[in-house]
Symmetry: C2
Subunit: 326 residues, 2 copies
DNA sequence: TTGTAAGCGTTATCAC
DNA sequence: GTGATAACGCTTACAA
């Protein structure tokens, strides 16, 4: 691997001049430039980004922490984010915590080690203090830390409202809604559940909040759980849950002879391709993944350039997409 | 960010002694060690990996190139690979080419720029020569380049055989099978199609090979295409395709009043969670993602350590999982 | 056991 | 317009 000095020697100039040609940081005589460009081509010279990064103290890499890459929602989001980062010249390091707190912590350490320049958090199992202490570019998805750490999230309250209204329109009497475990009350997405409960309550409709872990998406597990819950709540006639879980419920309901819709309604939360996979497309609250990715990366880019982000609390409207389950 | 020199100054020693403590590269007097460890803690010192990488000429990062992160198969594979890399102290940079050749080429450049130490290719739209010219750790999934670039792949021939036998058992007469575009004949996965055709042919069963692009998985597109093809081949009574595509076919077939199975059979290739999402789980040829990831990373790790890999052509057996579509 | 000095490959500063 | 020189933070001879 040719170094800048070898190129310089070959072109009969000093290393810094080669650098100037590459970066256009100063004017170089046309003739000198020619010689240098020739030498570069001849040696098939490619600058060493590791050395550049070392000098500038930046790696050009942004990490994204997710519970599991396989999860359709995070996979979709990661895809969009990678794309946005790419256009701005950053690379994506994708880190799967598998729901392990220790692993999340280890990944966070990448910031201090200068392995990455910033982190996008699509997972959050630590205490606020730990995130607050990072003092480096961090953008949270779905988890409020404090006013100085930007937050981007879908408008979950609105999602809960849209779902509730749909259940009401469908005349449901008992709606199950599944959220992510105990820590649920720390994330913004929990608002959809609160809002759902509130509105349904106002209309005299019952609801049951149920915890489920979805660190690693597995239809078999979900389906088994859905069957169990439908046995436990035989009068349930509605469910709100993440795409795959909602799909599992629809399958289980059909299995047990219920009509969907009619006797059982489902509203999928997220609205990724997973909500479409079922023969009957699921009615879903769609998180605008693309737009979220744009916002996240826009903010991250500003932070990386040491600028203050334009917004630090972005709530992006969701929409209700009508499918065949309500 | 404290540097090693600051730690050294604080502990009243030279920088190299601090380095020795961190890396255990030489014996250090217990007392000195104490002082250094104390200073490190006091300054909250974390070594700068960028500088370390620069010295060792390695980033500690492996890139994986995929057509789309969202695709269930690649998402699953990436998840396992990230996990395997993590245990060996490497990080994963996930790169989505979106099917664009130029973008693939740009990502490959990461090797020469020292941005990553190795690349795992789950995509391949370039000519063999370009891969052969890389001269750095590269492991191919599903695409044979030459004997010196290791290849890991599921045994697609076996997959084709298993699928064919299943169609035969089901008494199918015309089987559609969908593969990825023109370049299809360059990847090992194409063998499943050849084998399917061969065996079906031997049994006097017709088959049609159909090209489809799946760079970005989209159920709507697939379903529309499935409907169209079922209209074009009304006598079709079997299909082999990637999970999501197979699911789309099952949905379309049911829509058009066919019984599944009975009048129409489907064998999904891949067997990710996507094959389970449909209420009727799809009969599928399961690629052992976990095992593939293990092999890939094992080989990559050896290459990164400048050792010769134990195997350079790994074909991992697939299995047939019985679902409700045959 | 420890320190000095050089170097990894790049770029910025300051002369000339 | 160009070249020396130093610096980014770390590690490894080589010396002491």
């Amino acid at each position: 691997m040719a170094s800048i000095r070898e190129v310089a020697k070959r072109a009969g100039v000093a290393a810094c001049t080669v650098s100037r040609v590459m970066n256009g940081t100063a004017s170089v005589a046309p003739e000198t430039r020619k010689k240098i460009e020739y030498a570069m081509r001849e040696l098939d010279y490619i600058p060493n980004e590791l050395a550049r990064g070392m000098f500038r103290q930046r790696a050009g890499i942004v990490a994204m922490l997710v519970p599991s890459i396989r999860h359709p929602f995070f996979a979709s989001l990661a895809d969009c984010i990678e794309n946005q980062l790419f256009f701005r010249g950053y690379k994506l390091m994708l880190c799967s915590t598998s729901g392990e707190t220790e692993r999340e912590r280890e990944y966070l350490g990448f910031l201090k080690s200068n392995i990455v320049d910033g982190i996008i958090m699509a997972v959050s199992s630590l205490d606020r203090e730990e995130y607050a202490a990072l003092e480096k570019p961090v953008v949270m998805l779905d988890y409020y830390v404090n006013d100085s750490i930007p937050l981007v999230t879908a408008d979950h309250r609105m999602g809960g409202k849209l779902a509730a209204e749909e259940f009401i329109r469908n005349g449901c009497r008992l709606v199950l809604h599944l959220c992510d475990e105990e820590k649920a009350d720390r994330v913004v997405s929990f608002e959809s559940h609160l809002e759902l409960e509130r509105i349904l309550g106002e209309h005299g409709i019952e609801s049951r909040r149920i915890s489920i872990s979805w660190n690693s998406p597995d239809m078999e597990v979900y389906t088994e759980e859905a069957r169990r819950l439908l046995r436990e709540y035989p009068e349930a006639d509605g469910v709100m849950a993440a795409d795959m879980v909602a799909a599992a419920f629809v399958n289980a309901a059909l299995e047990s002879g219920k009509k969907v819709p009619g006797e059982f309604c489902a509203v999928a939360f997220d609205g990724t391709y997973a909500a479409d996979m079922n023969g009957r497309e699921l009615t879903s609250v769609v998180q605008p993944v693309e737009k979220m990715a744009e916002k996240v990366v826009e903010i991250m880019a500003r932070l990386l350039e040491k600028q203050r982000p334009k917004e630090t609390d972005v709530r992006i409207p969701v929409t209700l997409r009508y499918g065949k389950t309500t």
